[in-house]
């Protein structure tokens, strides 16, 4: 049985009538329109003139590799490509399983590396980019071919992706193995930014969920500990936590344990992010009606089963949009590690500007990395919205 909906007739206006209705309907709107036109004109003229005639973009061109991977040794860059190819394989199969119907999204994601290959990169890099794209397509067809049996395989793949990547990047200090060690002091640029972001997301997630559950616990000790932690961390700026991690983490540990600077920053980011994540998850938990708890108890599930099987899946589903925007914030906040002396995208920008031949090009460099952060941040929010609709989140 289908209901037929009669749509109201669409009003199609002639261009002139549209202009009159939308821009010049009252004297006040006319005034606003002219003011806006003037504003757009002056701003865009100033920006365009600077971008195309005054700015010296060769600083970006000459240092592109630094911006992307920092001081990572050139002969070891294949490791990063392997990681990306693995990621593409996983994304391809994940899309094939959960978002079968949105072919457009999949094609768009497969085309992105190919489009990037059109940019003036070196031939070897273009070759790798094509490889990434092909790997995504391969993942899609593999997953469609095997069908639902691929799921456990995919879960394992997602589970081991980050640890494998970290091992691959850092290599082994033991020289008998072929992978030589690349110290974290050489990780930099976009690579470090993304590692800190992904590491922050992966590790703060379970911690945040535990804190959210702890905050709603009926055991006072657990509850007040969680409240105390969450409010304490949310009350102070991230930079103080990063400073504390840099200066005090080595103090907290026994004398013989040394802790890497990147790891210290990562711990700081995780501890900070977990508190905010806990509040978002709590929002989701509060939206679950009491009936769900009662029904679950009536079915004879114990507290752990109720939380794990009934409450959390629903609460997290509700919290996803908030979590995504928090993760975007986390990505933007990783730039703060430059203040404590790491060479992430912003830190690399500082070193680039310290080179004698590029002194005085602050506008170009900071505009460039601003746009970089902007694209990632906007891309994350755009992609998450697409994926949410593709996998039918929010629909039952």
């Amino acid at each position: 049985m289908s209901t037929s909906v009669i749509h109201p007739p669409e009003t199609k206006l002639a261009p002139l009538a549209w202009l009159k209705l939308n821009l010049f309907n009252t004297w006040w709107n006319t005034l606003l329109t002219f003011a806006s036109i003037w504003l757009v004109y002056t701003l865009s003229k100033g920006i365009l003139v600077w971008v195309f005639t005054e700015a010296e973009w060769q600083v970006v061109d000459a240092n592109l590799r630094l911006f992307l991977v920092g001081q990572f040794p050139i002969d070891q860059i294949w490791r990063i490509w392997i990681i990306l190819i693995f990621l593409a394989l996983l994304s391809g199969s994940a899309l094939a399983i959960w978002a079968r119907n949105s072919k457009k999204l999949a094609i768009g994601m497969a085309l992105t590396p190919l489009l990037l290959a059109l940019l003036p990169f070196e031939w070897s890099e273009r070759f790798w980019l094509v490889g990434v794209s092909l790997s995504g397509v391969l993942g899609w067809y593999l997953a469609s071919g095997i069908g639902s049996k691929v799921k456990p395989l995919l879960y394992t793949g997602i589970g081991i992706w980050f640890p494998v990547s970290i091992i691959l990047l850092s290599g082994f200090s033991n020289s008998s193995l072929t992978l030589t060690e690349v110290g974290t002091n050489l990780w930099g640029g976009l690579l470090l930014t993304m590692i800190l972001t992904i590491g922050g997301i992966i590790f703060s997630f379970p911690l945040g969920v535990l804190l959210a559950l702890g905050r709603r616990s009926n055991l006072p000790a657990v509850k007040y500990f969680s409240i105390g932690y969450i409010e304490l961390v949310r009350g102070v700026p991230l930079i103080t936590i990063l400073f504390m991690a840099q200066l005090m983490l080595p103090l907290f540990l026994p004398a013989h344990v040394t802790i890497d600077r990147v790891l210290r920053a990562q711990v700081g980011i995780i501890l900070f992010s977990a508190a905010y994540l806990a509040e978002n998850v709590r929002g989701g938990l509060q939206a679950i009606p009491n009936g769900q708890f009662e029904a679950s108890h009536a079915l004879g599930l114990d507290a752990f089963q109720t939380t794990w099987l009934i409450i959390l899946p629903q609460a997290l589903r509700i919290a996803i949009p908030m979590l995504v925007s928090q993760f975007i914030g986390l990505m933007k906040d990783t730039s703060l590690v430059a203040i404590v002396g790491l060479f992430d995208l912003l830190g690399i920008a500082k070193t680039v500007l310290a080179q004698p031949e590029f002194i005085g090009l602050q506008r170009e460099v900071y505009a460039f990395i601003s746009i970089f952060y902007w694209i990632i941040s906007y891309g994350m929010s755009y992609l998450s919205q697409k994926i949410e609709t593709a996998v039918g989140l929010g629909e039952r």
């Binding site: 806006s36 200066l247 004398a255 912003l346 902007w374």
Partner: protein
């Protein structure tokens, strides 16, 4: 014989509850003691003893900008206080301008003018996705330090000087009769409020807007009279100018440092985008039926806005707005990246000089916690006061 069945203690929920908490408490406490022991041992090795008394030592560093008198012979405590005031100063200025810009953007986002609506939308989309720190660095290194030298400074309206040493704006210097002037203004204010209340009782038709206007005009009149009739001028408007000495310098008015300008500009432009979104959501949360019902009751546009829309929208707007204000205060700590002497920057200098990292970081955190806790106390009070009364 019926054996009395008892639940073993490890399945008794009443006992388990305490058992779990005891285990948890022990775990937390143990971890805390372990970390503290390590820390104390580590500090002893470095020859540092914990304690707050080092704050009385002589700071012996200079601070770029200060609101209260400070010299390098003052104590660390004084320096810390200067930092707190600087943090508050930049935060308050940023909050005021971000609110104004944010409200304009939020309202413009709902304009029926196509161009205005989409311009505002573009602004919100673009500025929310910047990384604040990079944005601040751009404003500092790319804009405010790139302004011309003092000799070639850009001058706006003959009053505002834009140079790479700071931005100079006109200010006023209070004269001898300034306190008398303030008393006059206060008296005028009391008088005008009393008068307007009287007017309202007499002529019921006067609405609040007219009353506000009346009070404002009365105050303006009093200020005008005071300025011209007092024996000496209550204040002098101090215009900035460039000195004629060999080394050119800016004098007069108030000179805002490039660090302050960059931090405030970045915070305002960035936070305004979030505030705009909040304001838009607040206005949209008032359902269309409310407007229509208000029209049907015969209220005019102004009354609809004042009595129906704003009270309902405010309930939605105020909580996230406060958290944005708090974000401004916390984000002002990024001033360290561009050298603005806020409380965090000064504490990191104190750490470098005295080596008391643990105590100084604890002090900074406590300072920020005081700001946030007082804000959340206000929030709770406000929410309780404005809770929607439901049937």
């Amino acid at each position: 014989m019926i054996k009395k069945r008892t639940i073993p203690f490890y399945r008794d929920i009443r006992i388990l509850k305490y058992l779990w908490q005891a285990i948890f408490g022990l775990f937390v406490f143990g971890g805390f003691v372990y970390l503290m022991n390590n820390m104390v041992a580590g500090l002893q090795k470095q020859g540092v003893t914990l304690g707050i008394s080092f704050m009385n030592g002589i700071a012996s560093f200079d601070i770029g900008e200060q609101l209260i008198p400070y010299t390098r012979t003052d104590s660390y405590t004084r320096a810390f206080l200067v930092g707190i005031l600087n943090t508050l100063f930049v935060s308050i200025v940023s909050i005021i301008f971000a609110t104004i810009l944010g409200f304009i953007l939020g309202i413009a986002r709902l304009s029926n003018n196509w161009l205005v609506k989409n311009l505002s939308r573009a602004y919100l989309e673009i500025f929310r996705n910047f990384s604040l720190l990079v944005f601040l660095m751009f404003w500092y290194l790319g804009v405010f330090l790139k302004l011309p030298k003092i000799q070639e400074s850009i001058i706006w309206f003959d009053q505002i000087y834009l140079t790479n040493r700071g931005v100079a704006i006109p200010w006023f210097i209070p004269g001898d009769t300034f306190s008398g002037f303030l008393v006059l203004l206060a008296a005028a204010f009391v008088l005008s409020v009393g008068l307007s209340l009287l007017l309202k009782r007499k002529f019921r038709k006067i609405n609040d807007l007219q009353l506000l206007l009346f009070t404002f005009l009365f105050l303006l009149l009093a200020a005008f009279l005071g300025y011209y009739t007092l024996a000496t001028k209550p204040f002098i408007i101090d215009l900035p100018f460039i000195t004629d000495t060999k080394i050119k310098n800016l004098k007069g008015g108030v000179i805002l440092s490039p660090e302050f300008m960059a931090l405030a500009t970045g915070l305002v432009l960035y936070t305004a985008a979030f505030i705009g979104e909040i304001v838009r959501a607040g206005i949209l949360s008032v359902s269309k039926g409310q407007f229509e019902a208000s029209k049907a009751l015969g209220l005019n546009n102004w009354l609809t806005l004042r009595l129906i829309v704003i009270p309902q929208a405010l309930k939605v707007v105020i909580p996230p707005l406060t958290s944005q204000y708090l974000n401004i205060i916390k984000n002002s700590s990024l001033g360290i990246a561009i050298g603005y002497s806020d409380v965090f920057y000064i504490s990191s200098t104190i750490i470098n000089q005295s080596g008391h990292a643990v105590e100084a970081i604890a002090l900074v955190m406590a300072t920020y916690l005081v700001f946030s806790l007082s804000t959340s106390l206000f929030m709770n009070w406000y929410n309780k006061k404005n809770k929607l009364v439901e049937r």
